[in-house]
C-alpha cells in the first residue's frame, strides 16, 4: 500500500527525478494512446458514453479484484469462489424480490448470503489447507465454487431474470450524457471502498495486524497476532464485497449464475494489475480494463473479441512490471 515514491534529490536531472513515477507515466501514456487510437473520428458524445459505461463495468472488475487482493494478502488464498458467492447472493435477492419482500431487505440478504458462504469456506475448509501450495489452495476454492454454482443453478434453472434497483430510474445529465445513478453508484462505491480499506489497514489495530500477516505469516504468528481472528475478518470483508459485486453485476450486466461465477477470471486480471498488492493499482487497472473493453466496440476489427481486453492488459502489465528483472533465486514466490 505504500505508494509514495522515495523523494528524489533536488537538482538531479529530470529523467532521474521522474524515474520513481515511470509506471504511472507509462500507464497514462498507454491509456491516452489507446483512447486516441480507438476513439479517433468518433463523435465526442459517443466516446463519452462508451467511457462512462466502461467505467461502470470496470469498477465491477475492480471491486472483484479488491475483494481478491484483500483476502489474498491476509490469508494467502486466491478465492475462485468469489463470483460464485456473489451469484448465489444475487439469485437469493431475486427470489426474495419476486416474493415481494421489501427491497432493502432483499439487498441485505444478497450480501448476507455471500458473506455466509465465504465465511463458511474461510472457517471450515481453508484452515485444513493452510500448509499447502498457494496454487493448490486456489484450486480448492474452485471445487467450492462448483458446489455453490451447482446448487444455485439447480434451484434456479436457466430463465431470463433481472434485478432492477430504484437507482436505475434516476439519471443525471452530465456534459450532455445521460448517466443512471446505478452506474455512478458503482464507480463511487469502488473508489470509496479502496479509500475505506486503505484507512482501515492504515489506522486500526486489526488493520496493522492484517498488514503484518500479509508481510510475513510466520513472524506475525510468533509475535502473537491472533491469526484466526484476523483471517476470519479478511474472509468477512471478501464476502461482503462478493455480495455487493454480485448484486451490482446482476443489475448492470446479467443475472445468470454461470456468468457471475466466472466473472472472477477478469477480476483476477484486475488483481494482477495491482500485483496482488496495491489496491489503488487494482482500481485503476479494473477501470482501464472496462474502458478499453467498451472502446473496442468502436473498432471494426476488434469488436468481436472485446472481452479479451482484461486478459491482454493483465499480461502486458505483468510483462511491463518484470522488465529488466532476471530470474534469481531469492524470495518465496
Amino acid at each position: 500500500m505504500d505508494l509514495a515514491p522515495p523523494p528524489a534529490r533536488v537538482g538531479a536531472p529530470i529523467t532521474m527525478r521522474l524515474a520513481p513515477y515511470t509506471n504511472w507515466i507509462a500507464f497514462a501514456v498507454a491509456m491516452a494512446a489507446v483512447v486516441l487510437a480507438l476513439g479517433w473520428g468518433a463523435r465526442p458524445n459517443m466516446l463519452g458514453l462508451f467511457v462512462a459505461s466502461g467505467l461502470a463495468v470496470g469498477s465491477l472488475y475492480a471491486l472483484g479484484g479488491i475483494g481478491l487482493v484483500v483476502l489474498y494478502r491476509a490469508t494467502g488464498v486466491l478465492n475462485f469462489a468469489f463470483g460464485a458467492a456473489g451469484a448465489a447472493g444475487a439469485m437469493v435477492c431475486w427470489q426474495l424480490l419476486d416474493w415481494g419482500l421489501w427491497p432493502p431487505a432483499a439487498w441485505a440478504a444478497c450480501i448476507a448470503v455471500a458473506l455466509a458462504i465465504t465465511l463458511a469456506y474461510g472457517t471450515l475448509i481453508a484452515p485444513r489447507l493452510a500448509w499447502r501450495d498457494t496454487v493448490v489452495k486456489a484450486v480448492a476454492t474452485l471445487g467450492f465454487a462448483l458446489i455453490i454454482l451447482g446448487i444455485t443453478t439447480y434451484i434456479w434453472p436457466d430463465d431470463p431474470r433481472s434485478i432492477s434497483l430504484p437507482t436505475d430510474d434516476v439519471a443525471i445529465r452530465f456534459l450532455g450524457l445521460r448517466l443512471t445513478l446505478t452506474r455512478i453508484l458503482v464507480v463511487v462505491a469502488s473508489i470509496a471502498i479502496v479509500v475505506g480499506i486503505w484507512a482501515f489497514l492504515r489506522f486500526t489495530a486489526v488493520g496493522l495486524q492484517m498488514r503484518a500477516l500479509a508481510n510475513d505469516r510466520d513472524l506475525a504468528a510468533l509475535t502473537g497476532i491472533p491469526i484466526l481472528r484476523v483471517e476470519t475478518l479478511a474472509w468477512g470483508i471478501a464476502g461482503v464485497l462478493a455480495g455487493f459485486t454480485g448484486l451490482m453485476f446482476a443489475t448492470l450486466i446479467r443475472l445468470e449464475p454461470v456468468v457471475i461465477t466466472f466473472m472472477v477470471i477478469p477480476a483476477i486480471a484486475a488483481a494482477i494489475c495491482g500485483r496482488l498488492e496495491s489496491l489503488v493499482a487494482v482500481l485503476l487497472g479494473g477501470l482501464s480494463m472496462g474502458v478499453v473493453e467498451n472502446l473496442l466496440t468502436l473498432s471494426d476489427t476488434f469488436r468481436g473479441v472485446r472481452p479479451i481486453a482484461p486478459f491482454v492488459i493483465a499480461a502486458l502489465v505483468l510483462l511491463w512490471l518484470q522488465r529488466g528483472q532476471r530470474l534469481t533465486f531469492g524470495g518465496r514466490e
Binding site: 439447480y154 494482477i272 473479441v305
Partner: protein
Amino acid sequence: MSGVWRITPSGWAGLALALACALILPAFAGRYWLSVATSGGCFLIAIAGVGFMYARLGMVSLAQCALMGVGGWVMLRLNHAFALPFEVNLILAALVTMVCGFVLALPALRLRGLYLALVTLMAAGGLEIVFATFQFPNGGTGFGGVQMGSAGPFRRPALAETPEAYFRYVVACAVLGFLLIEAHRRLAPGRTWALIRRSEAAAMAAGVHVTLYKTWAFGIAGLLAGAAGALLAGSLGLLDAGTFRASESVMLFALAVVGGAHGWLGAVIAAALYKVLPAGLNTLGVDANLAFVIFGAGLLHAVITAPQGIAGQLTGALRRIWARRDA
C-alpha cells in the same frame, strides 16, 4: 545407460492396463461409452502433460485445455484445407501447439509460483474468447474456415476408421505420451529438472541453463496438449468452443493434483474423473447441476485428505498390504 530401458513394476502395470483397455473395452462397451472412453483418453494425454510439469518443476499451467483447443484448431484447419494423412496433421498440430507452449513460457523466464499460474490463466481466458468468437473450422472457406449448417467430412487415420480402432489408436498415443515423459525423466533433462526442483540456486551454480530447461518443460506440456486436442478433434469430427473454456483448464490442473501428479495412475484417475464420472452420473439420471455439486465436493475432499492425490493413497494402501504379507 542400461537403466534407461528398464521397465519398472509400475511401468508393467501401466502397459498391462493400456493393453487390457485396448483389447477388452471395445468388446463390451457400447457406442456411448466407447466415445466417452476415447475422449477420456485424449484428456488423459493433456493431463499427463500438466501433471508432469507440476510434479517435475512445480510449475503450474492453467492453460492446458486452451492449448488443446489450439491443437484441435490446427488439426481441423489442416484436415479441411489439405489432403494430408491424419498422422501428419497430428504431428503438425502437436508441433504448432508446442510453439504456443514456448510463447506461453516466455513470462516463465522471470515468474514463479502463483504469478506464473496466473499468466497462463490469462492466456486461457484470452483463448476462450478467441475460440468463442471465431469458432472451429468445419469445412468452410477462408482462413477461419467456418460454415453454417453441417460440417465437412473428417478423415480419420487409415489405421483406425472405426470407433473401436480409433479408441485403440488413442490408447497407443497415450502410451507414447507417457513413454516420452518417462524418457525425459530418465535422461539428462530429468536429472536437470530434479536439480532445479531441489534448488534453482544450486542448478545455476552448477552451470544449468535454468530458463532453457523450464521452457523445454512447457514445450513438452504444449506438445502433449496439442496432440490431445488433435486426437479429440479426430474423435468427434468437430469441436465446440465450450470444451476449451478457461474454467476447464483450471479444472484439468485441479484434477491432475487430485489424481496425483507423479505417475501414470494419477493421470488415468484424473481423466476418468473428468470424463467418465460425469457421463456415469448422467446415465444414472442425476441432474447435471447436482453432478457439479458431487464433482466439486469430491475435488475438495480429495485436495484436503490426499496430498499425494488419489493415486498416492492407492499405492500407499497397496504397499501397506504387501508389507503386512511379508511380515
